[in-house]
Each structure stands twice: as structure tokens, then as C-alpha cells.
């Protein structure tokens, strides 16, 4: 078990990567940050369920995914009875708006957003985070075969979208 101070340090260190995963799921910075905020709160409450500190990263990604699923179930299911009532910032700060603006110029992200969220999650975990298929399957709670089929479809679709964007001068945004 990690002590509270160590847990805090580990969480702070991982915020950028937690944000990246969350934004890849939600598609927007504001929603992604809401998701990370809720995930941090849940992580603190469930800290004791982390048996193996070596698995902290995938444990955090799992929490993000679970919170995201809960939130998508709709407003009625949105409140975890254990969740304290917290007020997320109504409007994102300057930092969030600036990042949103940067991402709006990111053609790869734009193409990625045309894929289903389930495929984006696999792409991010395997492609960017470098997880083995088996580990990605554990985080997403799906069979390894599903990881592979989603990854293959995601890569093919993303690659074609990027090729189309490049071949079509009308869509050049001068990156």
C-alpha cells in the first residue's frame, strides 16, 4: 500500500497522462478535465483497493474509464452515493481554453474523433501509452481478441482519414 503522501505525489505526476486518456474518451478538454477531477476524487476514496502499487497506472486508467461509463449512463446514474457533492468549475480556466484551441488545430486528433470512443481508447492505450494488448484488455475489461480487432480497425480507419486529409487540398489547414 502506498502511503498518503506517496499516493498524492504519484497522482500529481500522472495528471497529464490521465488528462490525455480522458480527453481521448470525451473529445473535449472541459469534459476530459471533469472526468479526471472525478477520477481523482474516486481514486482517493478507493485508495485502499489498490493492492499492488506497481499497477497504479492501469488502476487509474480503469477508474477514469469507470467514471466515464457512469457519466454516460445519464444524469440519474451520475451520482455515486459515495461521491461527495463537489462543484466542478462551471467554465474552464485559461489553461483549458488554450489547450482546446491547440487541439482544434491537431489534425490527427480531429481524425481520431471520427472513430468510436472504444477504438480511441485502445489506440491511446496501446499506441501512445505503450501497453501490451493483454494490459489494455485488463484496463478496458474486454477480451484480448477484442483489443486486437478494435486496434486493427482503428488503425486502418485513422490511417485512411489522415491520407484523405492529406490528399484533399481543400482540407489542408497548413499545419
Amino acid at each position: 500500500m502506498i502511503d498518503r503522501k506517496g499516493f498524492e505525489r504519484a497522482l500529481l505526476e500522472r495528471l497529464p497522462r490521465m488528462r490525455r486518456f480522458a480527453i481521448s474518451l470525451t473529445g473535449t478538454v472541459a469534459e476530459g478535465d471533469d472526468l479526471v477531477q472525478s477520477a481523482c476524487e474516486r481514486a482517493w476514496r478507493r485508495r485502499r483497493s489498490l493492492r499492488d502499487p506497481e499497477r497504479l497506472d492501469s488502476w487509474l486508467f480503469q477508474i477514469i474509464r469507470h467514471v466515464w461509463i457512469d457519466q454516460r449512463r445519464g444524469p440519474e446514474a451520475r451520482v455515486d452515493p459515495e461521491d461527495p457533492v463537489t462543484f466542478h468549475d462551471l467554465a474552464g480556466g485559461d489553461a483549458e481554453r488554450e489547450l482546446e484551441a491547440r487541439l482544434s488545430l491537431d489534425r490527427t486528433f480531429a481524425a481520431m474523433l471520427r472513430l468510436p470512443a472504444e477504438q480511441r481508447a485502445v489506440l491511446l492505450l496501446v499506441g501512445a501509452e505503450g501497453y501490451a494488448y493483454r494490459e489494455a484488455a485488463a484496463i478496458l475489461d474486454i477480451p484480448i481478441g477484442t483489443v486486437m480487432s478494435r486496434l486493427a480497425r482503428a488503425r486502418e480507419a485513422l490511417g485512411r482519414l489522415l491520407e484523405d486529409a492529406q490528399d484533399s487540398p481543400a482540407r489542408e489547414t497548413g499545419s
Binding site: L15, R19, R20, V29, Q37, V85, A95, L99, D106, A152
Partner: protein, 223 residues
């Protein structure tokens, strides 16, 4: 699973390994051969390679961007011992408790912190403050009860100013100072002993610590 799906899965697996450069020479040559005969497969592989090249840099700008304050706050240690506390909107109750013990809250500040106090775990109304004096000697309890051994150990930890400690079989965690506009250093604590967990708030005002409120629950495993 149908034979088609089986073949598809096998193909996915091989193609993924191929574009990731993880095939041994013999397998790679087999895929190369298949590719040379199949223009559709060539296009698929070209698209997949294109994606693979982009993947390490996916959403890089998020990693480079400054993290918003609200996330830094959420990641920092909560002022209360996290999972042990039973959560309730008890801001008003704690304010009444503090006021009843004569520690008082300025009215506007009191209203303003109602939101801050949401989520604090306080159960049980405070006992009568008694004698009008707000101060109780270290270790006495205003509400609930703590076994004497736990009380001694807790007061020891509070006085040393450490975040927690282990005294024999008694485990103690103490939170950071609560953001209360009262003239006292108030902290969450959690004491676990003999299969019971005691969550509460203790406040320091010279010459010692007072336990303001305690809630006891059984320790649930696997929480």
C-alpha cells in the same frame, strides 16, 4: 465464433504484428508475399502504418500543457481521511457544533463555508457544551466516544504534529488543517483499532487538543 471471424482475428493479429515490426523473418516474408498479391491488403497495411507512425505523438499537446489548478487540487490529499468517512451534507451541523462550543463563526464566513463543509463526515449532534465554556481538556469528546487507549494515542500523534502513526495495534491518520474560519486548528482524524474505525474532528486551542466529534464504524475489508 464463425470461421470467418476466426480468420479475421488471425489476420488482425498478424497484420498488427507486421505493422509494429514484431514478426520474425519467416512470418514477415509470408505477409510480404500475401501483400504482393493483394492490392486491397496493401492499402490496409499502408493506412495502418500511417496510423502507427502517428500514435506515439497522439495528443502530445495535452502532456505539454499546464495542468489546471482544479485538477491539482483534486489530486492533492483530501483534508479528511478519504474512504473511511461516511459522507453527508453536514456543514450546518458542524457549524452548529462549533458555535455551541463557543468557538463561533463569523456570520458571512459561516455562510460562505457551507459549501466547503459539504462532504464532511459528522454524525451525532453535539452534546451540550456545558458551562458555556468552549474549551475541553485534551482528549475529551464532545460527541461520540473513543476508547481511552485510542484517545491517548491520537492525542500523542496530534501533539507531535505528524500526519499519522502506529501505536501498537492502533493506526492513526491525521489530515491537514481544515479550512474553517474558526480560531483553532481543526483536523480530521481516523483511528483504527480492534476492527473498529473512528472518524472524527479534533481541534487545537491552547492548552491542548479537543476531540469535537467521533463517528465509529466497523472496518470493512476490501474498501
Amino acid at each position: 465464433m464463425s470461421a470467418d471471424a476466426d480468420r479475421q482475428r488471425l489476420a488482425d493479429k498478424d497484420l498488427l504484428a507486421y505493422v509494429e515490426g514484431r514478426l520474425d523473418t519467416a512470418s514477415r516474408q509470408a505477409v510480404d508475399q500475401a501483400l504482393s498479391r493483394d492490392a486491397g491488403l496493401q492499402r490496409r497495411v499502408a493506412a495502418m502504418r500511417r496510423a502507427v507512425a502517428e500514435e506515439p505523438g497522439l495528443l502530445d499537446s495535452v502532456l505539454e500543457a499546464p495542468v489546471p489548478d482544479r485538477l491539482l487540487r483534486a489530486a492533492r490529499m483530501p483534508a479528511r481521511p478519504g474512504p473511511g468517512a461516511r459522507l453527508a451534507a453536514t456543514g450546518g451541523r458542524l457549524r452548529r457544533l462549533l458555535r455551541s462550543t463557543g468557538w463561533g463563526l463569523a456570520a458571512p464566513a459561516g455562510a460562505a463555508i457551507a459549501g466547503l463543509l459539504i462532504g464532511l463526515a459528522v454524525d451525532g449532534e453535539p452534546s451540550s457544551p456545558g458551562g458555556g465554556s468552549g474549551y475541553r481538556p485534551a482528549g475529551s469528546t464532545a460527541a461520540g466516544s473513543l476508547p481511552p487507549a485510542a484517545l491517548d494515542a491520537l492525542v500523542g500523534v496530534l501533539e507531535r504534529g505528524t500526519g499519522g502513526g502506529q501505536v501498537g495495534a492502533i493506526a492513526i491518520t491525521v489530515g491537514q488543517a481544515l479550512p474553517l474560519p474558526v480560531d483553532a486548528d481543526c483536523r480530521w482524524f481516523q483511528v483504527t483499532m480492534d476492527g473498529a474505525r473512528h472518524d472524527g474532528i479534533a481541534c487545537a486551542r491552547p492548552p491542548g487538543w479537543s476531540v469535537m466529534t467521533v463517528e465509529t464504524s466497523a472496518v470493512a475489508d476490501g474498501e
